[in-house]
Structure formats: C-alpha cells, structure tokens
Amino acid sequence: MNIINRQNLKSLSTLTKARYLSSLASLLIMLSSIAIILVNGFNWGLDFTGGVVTEVKIDPKIKSEQISQLLGQGSAQEVSVISAGEPGRWVLRYAKVDNAATGDIKTVLAPLTNDVEVLNSSIVGPQIGQELAEQGGLALLAAMLCILAYLSFRFEWRLASGALLALFHDVIFVLAFFSLTQMEFNLTILAAVLAILGYSLNDSIVIADRVREVLIAKPKMATDEICSSAVKATFSRTMVTSGTTLFTVGALWIMGGAPLQGFSIAMFLGIMIGTLSSISVGTCLPELLKVKAEHYEVTPISDTP
C-alpha cells in the first residue's frame, strides 16, 4: 500500500459519494421490498401448500377450457390449467388432495383424448406441505444464526453488521421480486435464497477483509477513505467474480429449462443485488457505526513490509 496521491484522493471522494448515494437507494429498495411482501404475500408452490400438480402432453388441438371443464366435473374444487411452454403441454393443478385429483389422469381425460403422456406428477399432502414450510423457515434461521456466529467470531461487530445488513437487503429484495411477480415460490427457490445468503456474504466479506487490512495498515486514514479505498482495491475482483457467476447462472436461465427457471432468476437477481449491496450498505453501515483502527489493535501486524 503506497502513498495515496491527490488524484487518488479525488477519485476516492467521488467513490465515497457514489457509495452514499447507492446506500440511500439500497435503503429505499429495502423499505419498498418489505412493503411489497407485506401487501402481496407469496404464491406458495405445491411443496409448501400441498395439493396435486400433473404435467401432461396431449394433442395440441385441445383447448384449455375443454380440459378445465372436464377436470372440474370430476372434482368439487377449482382446478387450474396452465400452459407449459410448448403447445399441447399443460400443467394441471389441484389445491387439495382428494380422490378425483389422485385418480388416474388418463381416465379423467379419456373423453377428450386417449393419447395422454404424463410427464410428471406430484401429490403432496397438506401436512407435508406445512412441515416443509416449517423446515424451510428453520433452515433460513439456522443458516442466519450460524453465519452470525461465524461473523462475530471473525470480524469486529461494526464491520460484521455491514455484511449482515447487506445480506438482509439481498434476501429481502429477491423475496420481494417473487412477491411482486407472484412467481411460484417452491423449495428450489428457497434453496436459491439460501445460496444467495452465502454468495452475498462472500462479496461483503472480501471487502470487509480489505477494510480491516487497510485499517491496520493505515490507522490514521479517515474511515470513509478507508472504506472507499477497500472498495476500489477489490472492485475488479468483485466485477470479475460477479461477472463469471452471472454468465453461468445466465446459461442456466437460458438452457436449464422450466424446472430451473425460477432458481436461475432468483440467483441472477441475488448476485446482482449482492454485488451492489456489498459496496453500498455493506461498507456504509460500519462507517456510520464509526469503525476505527483501535477496534483491531490487538491483531498483530505481520503483513506490512
């Protein structure tokens, strides 16, 4: 780490301003995300609600009204018939598990056509759905707690709080997206949210590591400059890693097919927002909490030449 010249200082101060602005934006995003989730709720998938989902392939000439009418006759409940991408491919969804729903779909559709290919079908009892939802919440909580424990062990609390806020920000944003679009929220999406948890921290920690390093190396430097220089030093790494991860998740989005669509969208958004938040709120909160070199004085300085 060498002397920072005037040019550098100037670019650092513009970076600091940019960080403050983006933090403000992040704060707004967080608040509106919470509002969206409170208002809209989620479109819980079969995994959590229980019910019956069957995907079939039939003659493309058959219309959805014909199918829903036929299915409605056999069952007392409402049945949704959704097109699954290509013509003739339908997703049939019953909210409740009953005899009409669990019966053989081929016999139910027999009046329309005899050529029915069942691609997949899931029957989940209401009890299981509830349990999975509880388990999912538990997983999220357990992961958060473990991460909290690790962060408080590894970093000083002021620095850790920035990473935590960034993480909360990212998860809330992705959840709000699913709430707003009412895309189905199933177990795979939950897995994506947990993966985002890990990924978001990844970015924040790399920057926090740098902040700590600069703090120790240059105790006299102003906190905002330290944070900005840490962001600057890690910036190209942040961009490259986010870039490659976005490429691969993008590939998954394009090629992965319907079952992985939600997952890739969640990951894609999570990585983008995670990159932003690690720079914005991730560094601004520790600054606000006045993280200082003294907080790290006990650490032996071995790195400086």
Partner: protein
Amino acid sequence: MRQQNSPTLLNHYSAWKYVLLIVTVMVMLFSALPTFFGEDAAVQISPEAQLKVNPLELHQLLISNGISVKRIDQSQGDTLVVLGDNSQQSQLKTLLTSQVNDPSKLTLTLAPAAPNWLLYLGFSPIKLGLDLRGGVQFLLDVEIEPVYKLHYSTFVDSVRQFVRTSDLYGVAVQYQVDGSVNITTKDLQQRAAIRDFVSQQYPNWQMSNSGERGLSLDISDAEKINIRNLTVTQNLQIMRSRIEQLGITEAVVQRQGEHRIRIELPGVQDPAAAKSVIGATASLAFYQVKQAGSVNAKTLKDEQGEPVYVARRPVLGGEHIVDARASLGEMGLPEVVIHLDRDGGRMMSDFSRDNIGKPMATSYSEYSRDDNGQIRQTTEVISVATIQAQLGDRFSITGAGDYDEAQQLALLLRAGSMTAPVTIVEERTIGPSLGEENITNGFSALALGMGVTLLFMGLWYRRLGWIANVALMANMILIFGLMALIPGAVLTLPGIAGLVLTVGMAVDTNVLIFERIKDKLKEGRSFAHAIDRGFDSAFSTIVDANFTTMITAVVLYAIGNGPIQGFALTLGLGLLTSMFTGIFASRALVNWVYGRDFSRNVKV
C-alpha cells in the same frame, strides 16, 4: 522466462506435492469417466425365472417387436438384456413375461455403458436422482398412535387380570382419552400391591400417586421413543421386502425424520401398481365367532354388509404370519395357505383344540386416510369357517375372492402384517422423457456456462488465465469423481444447478489471488515475489469467503429433501474442490511455470 538463482527457495513445491496432485486428479478422472458413458436400461432374467428361449431366439423376438437391443449377456445363468432405448424398459419387461416361467423373477435394472476395464477397476457412474432418471417417489407416514393404543389396552387388561386374581375388590382401572391410565383403589395396601405388580411386570411405565388412593400411569417417554423406533424399523423391513417383490434393484427405502419412510422407485412409470403394493396396509386377524348379543362381542361386517359378532380380542393377529401363498384348494376354490410362527402356531392350536365344530372368522383390515387426513380403518370379515380339526402352524383360509385377489392378499400378508397403519402422504412421478430432458438441459447449461467462463478468464487474465482454466477443469473432474465415489451421493437437477453455480464461483479463488498478484506487481515487486505474496495474502480472504457458503450448504443438506440435498452436495463439494484446485493445484502450476520469473513490470 529468466532463470536466476534465488537466495531462498521461493515458489518451490517439493516433488511429492506434484505426485499427490497428479495422482489425485488421475484417480478422480477414472472415477468420473463411467458417468460420461452413462447407463443403459436393462432387464435381468435370473435363473429362477427359467427363460424358455435361447438368447439368439430372444434377440430375434425382441427385434421383431420393435425393441432396440444393445446386447444380451449371459453369465452364471443370469441373462441381462441391455436396451438401446431407455424408454422401452417396461415394454421389454411385459414382452419377457411370456417368455419365462416365473415373471416375478424379472428385474428392472441399469447396466453401465462404460468399457469393462473401467468397471473392473471398481469405478461406477454417478447415481442419478429421480428427477433425472424418471420414476416414482413415495413418502409414507407411519401412524404410531394405534401402536401406543395397543400397548395401553394390553396393559389395562393385564392390570385388570391381576386385580381379579389377587382379589383386590373395589379397584377401578380406567383408560383415559388423553392417553394415560388411571387406577382408583380402596386403601393404600391395594395401591402398594398394584405398584409392586406394575414395577415388576412393566418397568417401562411411569407411576405417580394421584389423590389419596389413586394412581396415574403412563408409558415413559423413553419407551415411547423406543416403541416408535421399533415400529418404523419394522415397517422399513416390510417395505423393503414388498419392494423386492416389485423387482426393482435400484429402489431406495429410507427412513426420513421421526416417523416417515421415503421410497424411490427409479424406472417405474406407472405408480398405480407400486402404490397398490406399498400403500395398502393390510392385516389379518382371526376371531372367535360369538352369538348375537353376547357380552364381550363386537360387530364386524362381512362382504355383503351382514353383521358378524366376534370376540373383542382376536385369537391371533397377523404379526405371527410367516408365509402366505395363494393356491387352488380341493374344491377348485382359491385359497390362501398361511404359515404361522411358533407362538402363533401354539395360540392357534390351543384355540382350535377347544373350539372344534365352532366357527372362526377371518378379518381383513385396510388403513386409508380420509379427506381430513384422519386415519380410517376398514375391517371386513372375509371368511367364516367352521373349525374342522385342531389347526397347527399351517392352515388355509378361503373366501378372499377369485384367484387374482387371493394372490394379492397372499402378497400383502407375506410381506408382513402391519402393526402400524401406513399412509402415502406424498407421491411424485417423473416421466422418463422429462428426466432425459432435464439431463440435456442441465448439462447444456453447464457446458455453456463453462465455455463462457473459460473464454472470459483466458481473455481477461491472459498469462494467468489459462492456469485458472486448468484449475477449473481439474475442479470439474474432482467434483464428478467425488460424486461417483461417495456412497449415497446422488446427482439431481438442482444438483446440476449447483455445479453450474460452482463453475462461476470457483474461479473466484483464482481471481482473488490474481488481483493480489496484480497489486503486488504494481507495488514494484518481481513476478515471482508478487506470486508468493499474492497467494499468501489472499488465503485468509478465500477461506473467509468460502466458509459462509459452506455453512448454507451444510444447513441445506441437513434440513432439505432429496433434490435440495443434491444441490447442497454439489455446492459444498464444489467449494472444497475449488479450494483444492484454486489454491493448491494452481499454485503448483504457477510455481512450475512462472515461479522463477524475477522480472519486474510484468503485465497480467
């Protein structure tokens, strides 16, 4: 590159590290290879099935029926028909049914397509999850309450028996609805006597005094857990033997959570057949038939809905049944021949000796779940027969319907009698074509993501980029190799997503190191020194950054279900292997190629 003697041994890895690296990667490569050859669906014909035709004729027959056969292997009497088209497996099995004497000995299986020498080395392909292979998955709920109830009622009976034989007048034994037993006595001596009896005969019961002369009793919590575990284990065994009868070698029967059983049947396309065998929980019981209006009688219905009055307790429950076979009896009527265990045989023998000439009813109970999720037991008397002679441990019952129904009943009984009702609470079917589609989609996403990443890293870091690329490829080899080696590791569709994600994130390790090297070069160090400092200073950041993702992977694995566990597995393994290749393997490469380059102003 400039060769120069350095005062210290900078960037030096000893030979054993290179040997370790190369050996590891080679072993993993061999382990990963069979997966790329894939597996072919096959049907195994065991010697007991007694194939009626020779392999050549069989081949002709199958071809003429439009089945594409890859090869027919015969070894030690076993015949294996390997298919060229995986979707024809059930079609093939149906066709083979007419060509063998015992169709129940036909087994659906998979044959690795890898060359034999690889298989001889002990390597096998990665196990694919149901979402990639197609098949049916069931989640069963084992209802423990009825088992507890049985324990309570046996206990109450036994205490009442004791009260009667010890002439303890005025003692009332009551089974409470909330699941405990209350005893009221007339004096403290009576209470002490009952306490003695219970603590001797039922050490697993908890007792506490209630009121002045009362006793409150319940099964201890430890014993309840013990009972639950025993019940679930017994049901697991039963399910395994039932699945065996379906002839699927790769089936998975596992306990999940406290009282659930997960069954995976790869390759099964029609859940109905499997369901009827798994889902039905049948139990047989034999009752003494009583007169209408008798004191200790309960009413059961027969097939016509006519009431049959039977004794409250069965003479014998189905848990004593060792074997059951359908056959045609003397009158040409279908019957089920039942073979009892020793205890059951003695009980039946005692009972029938005393009741020759009297009728005995056989009841058949099935458990199902109604719309509200409540367990419903339907019991039907399937036969009332007069006891002709003293029965032993082997006898037959009639009245189960036609021969097919008798066979079905025998199958259910043979698989064992359920002491706890089991219901299907989740059922998932994935058609084989969707499985194939998922594999194609997943792997093309992996290929595209990998290609773009390799290209980008090569262009961005140039000199060091190819090192990152070699490390990334080694990383993939390691993950695939490990997935094939680890027992119980299953690749699922979310698992492939985890792989794709790993590709993107694995380069991070190298990126962190390379950026540090760039920094050090800017500070004016030589390339070799920058490499040394760069690797060292990036290390703790790499560990920190990977650790949090590892936490989520572990949590996901611990709490998730099948497909999600697949994701957690590839994500977690990917982190470990990317640390290995990103730090160790790429350092080895860098040391070897650029380690002695002491020139300054190097652009990377």
